[in-house]
Symmetry: C2
Subunit: 204 residues, 2 copies
């Protein structure tokens, strides 16, 4: 393929797309999908509505980019922890510990965008709600697979209920996100995470 590197014709964009996208992440993260209006977005992104639509498409397309950007910058710790640690236990332990920190970092919205941004949506936003729900289910499925792998390898007892344990972890993480949104501080979330790990089965 030819590496085309010709200058882009026409009037250049007067704002930084990445910066604007980050502001959109913040708005959606704070207020959720439906409660964030185009008017909110144009204000926080510092651009006009036509510029927003030209650069990002409609609200739903912008939100799709926002979710991807959120995953890249903030939400990837769960996948990373589960993938990088040598056991399910250490992966989940690390993920919970990191969640306590991530969900309460000062200077940015609290909790998890994937968990909270598309709850209570009107039927018109069902597509968005379904996509985030699918991500949550995929996350729990990933934990469950990791647990099953450890059961198979003998790192976890043979009678471990992988389905229940994975959903328990998902439940705690989602609960921690809401606690963070309700004002719980990092210390409290870390205590929750530490308590939650007491459930983990001992290695056989």
């Amino acid at each position: 393929m030819a590496t085309k590197e010709t200058k882009q014709r026409g009037r250049p964009r007067s704002f930084d797309r990445e910066t604007a996208l980050e502001q959109a992440v913040r708005s959606f993260w704070e207020q959720g999908y439906e409660a964030t209006s185009i008017s909110d977005l144009t204000r926080t992104m510092g651009i006009s509505a036509p510029s927003l639509y030209a650069a990002f498409g409609d609200k739903q397309a912008l939100f799709r980019e926002v979710v991807a950007e959120y995953g890249r910058l903030h939400g990837g710790f769960l996948d990373r922890a589960v993938a990088e640690e040598p056991t399910a236990r250490r992966g989940v332990e690390r993920a919970l510990r990191e969640a306590a920190a991530e969900y309460t970092l000062p200077g940015r919205p609290r909790g998890c965008l994937v968990i909270s941004a598309a709850q209570n949506t009107a039927p018109a936003s069902a597509e968005v709600a379904d996509s985030l729900r699918a991500m949550r289910l995929a996350n729990i499925g990933g934990i469950e697979s990791r647990i099953r792998a450890d059961v198979a390898s003998g790192a976890l007892p043979a009678d471990t209920d992988a389905h229940a344990l994975a959903h328990y972890v998902g439940s705690v993480i989602q609960g921690m996100s809401q606690q963070a949104r309700d004002g719980a501080d990092r210390t409290t979330l870390e205590a929750i995470a530490a308590l939650a790990m007491k459930v983990w089965p001992d290695a056989p």
Copy 2:
């Protein structure tokens, strides 16, 4: 005081107020505060907008009645369990078990209205969001008090972290509500509840 029992003058109401309120509970429970429009309500309640406003005041006043009715009919199990059982442990154990059942009962919305109905609200609904948040915090505070009472009476070890344990329980309950909304069945929630109780400290 005189027991006035005179007949009410004027044209009588043509709908049953309680039945209409129950339909409003269902709508708000399903879709949340903001995503439920007056148009949704008039349709599900089977009355016209002026009748709704005459009988219940504005949307926010109706929602206040809805929350009270929800607590009376569906959401009271946590308080009851903690108040009626002889120990914090048994109270929480029962509350978690009942939550698994309540949150997945067929034929009605899933999860907990207090937990889910006012997330992701626009600034205009801050008052509603704050009131439900206050109820959540009060619920956790109630659990914490019950735990402290057991620590004082010797039913729990003296070094029990009541704050952390109460927030852990709150986290699990809120996580279970979201899991229910995401489709988890009663069996899964009961397994989560059973796992969660493994954290509970042994009696000294």
